[in-house]
Amino acid sequence: MFAAKLYDGHSAFPHDVSAAFADGRLTLTQDDGWEDRIDAALLKRLDGGPELIRLGRSDAPGWRLLAPAGASAEVESFLSPPDRYGRWIDRIGLFPALLVGGALTASVVAFGYFAPALLAPHVPMSWERNVGSAMVGDFGDIRCRDPKGQRALEALVERVAPGSTDGPDGIKVAALDVSMFNAAALPGGYIVVFKSAITESDPDALAGILAHEVAHVKRRHVTQALIRELGIGALIRLFAGNVGANAEQIVSLSYTRESEAEADSDAIAMLNRANISPKATAELFASLSKETGEGNGYAAEFLQSHPLNAKRAQKFAHAFDPRRKYSPALTRDQADALFNVCWKRPVK
């Protein structure tokens, strides 16, 4: 038997009652003869702080019984302790939950890390083509449509990777009228080159850039990125919030840097097979390195998706053989046509 305060859940008035547990029931009485019996199964303990024991009722929201800490022995023998970590964790205990959760998390992270590379080669090219054409379409007005220039661009891709533009799964290359020095491989075998990359680099250097993008397509790096971004990345961002997104970005950066290095090695091999000098590509990266003013710090490289330009320049320069007789990537006419691919003749 202990004295307690009762809130009935209808008004805020605290009623003084005497409480006692017996026969699986809690009996509350007042001096005026009022009495109430509650099945112990309906009662639950709530967190009442260090000074109080707080009981609630599952069938009556707001019903609260406040008992002094001295009554804890009596209450504890009838009722289980209040929820602690949440019911699903309480049921198995904190340490088993941490172990199971840790193992599950580790396997999800491992799956997220390795699955894109493992799955990518098995994604049918036709699926990817559908995704790709849905994403990029025909580029509308920003595509440079000069027929001679387009033919020269395709010839350059064929030069570094013979047969790669053939068939429905072949590489589709497009010049875009965007003043930016860049090129990219997109889902579905699309390669886009921006105008500045065409007008500001030597055809031999452009051959190096295109070979790099062709390698991305052939090695299904684009497919990997697609799976990672849309499948696993979206899930992680959804459930793990900001911390997860940051972690995912670091993982995917280290991942893409590996792919970039692989694509560079492939590009060097392609240039070698096509008998195109890698020197122009090396010079291009060297000048980009100077322009961006990158230092030799490890941090700079760690945070970038591409390897440092200076390092890439070295790699291409190393492949250059001064005694070899290289042939130019394009004929003079082709090079001129390509240079003018984004040039729109005034309408007569």
Binding site: P61, I142, A234
Partner: protein, 360 residues
Amino acid sequence: MDAVTSPPAQERRGIEFAGSWREYLPIAATNALLIVCTLGIYRFWASARQRRYLWSRTHVIDDCLEWTGTGKEMFLGFLIVVLVLAPFFLFFQFLFPALIARGKADAAFGVLFLFEIAIFYLFGFARFRALRYRLSRSWWHGIRGGSDDPGWNFGGEYLGRYALTFMTLFVMFPWATTRLWNSRWNAMSFGQLDFRADLTATGLKRYWALLYAVPFLVMIVAAVGGISLLGNGRGQPEQWRLLTFALMVVGFIYLAIPLLTLNFFAAFYRKAAAATTLGDIEFEFDATTWDWLKLMVGTLALIVVTLGFGLTYVGYRNWAFMIRHLHIFGTVDIGELEQSTTRAPREAEGFADAFDIGAI
């Protein structure tokens, strides 16, 4: 005889926080561990646990508060919001780049604009629903709070007032934010008592004008100062003096803007609390700009010194700060305070969570 009166300031305060960081440590530590080990899914249960602790250590007059929200309902609220926000995600991920790639930039930015309006509306809606949810899960003396307003109109009002604010280059901000405070709180209740908020921009305008004017003043000072330094070419080389001056101007901007913003919001919350009542209860919030600054710098220092573990104490520190600076005055007739008849919302603050609103 049923009335409990909040005592005068010299005695025990009407509202007090009795938690201690040592007592909270096991909660912070296990929450952090469980969040990491569940890929973040535990964060809903973690915040329910955190609130259960903070509320239970907050004494109002003669009894502590109680938080009855659960991790499960917050998780379900989150899942609902994921479904609602899925079209937005698909748009940003697919439709927007696809339109850009097709050269249809006008259409892309047009749809982007519409989606941004929708997100803004939902943001306002989320702020309302978060407050309503929190009140409906906060109990005192077996009585809870809530609202009968679903908050759809508030979303519209939020959108409209902020549209006006943007169109007037933020000149209207004090009006917008004070009216929104009133609309939000006037829809809320505790038991059968309604909250009443009558906040006006009077007294806030000068704080805002100061913040608004500083960039222009700095520009004028910089221009005048720069020109006079150029004219006077003796002593140190001219470029050095110009550089020092430029650094001072930039440093001043980086210090002044955040401090003046803080100054505005500190004044806002002091006035907002004073303009809000619940039945015969009045509120006072006395945190000065300096107090807010100490809170923020302290939290930042704690996070740095503990190599990130301090993040688990952000909610604790914010709550303790709020309660320590909050005072309540007046009388509650506890015999008359009856249970709320508002419908307790079944979903939790999924929207607020999705938009990252609310520190606790």
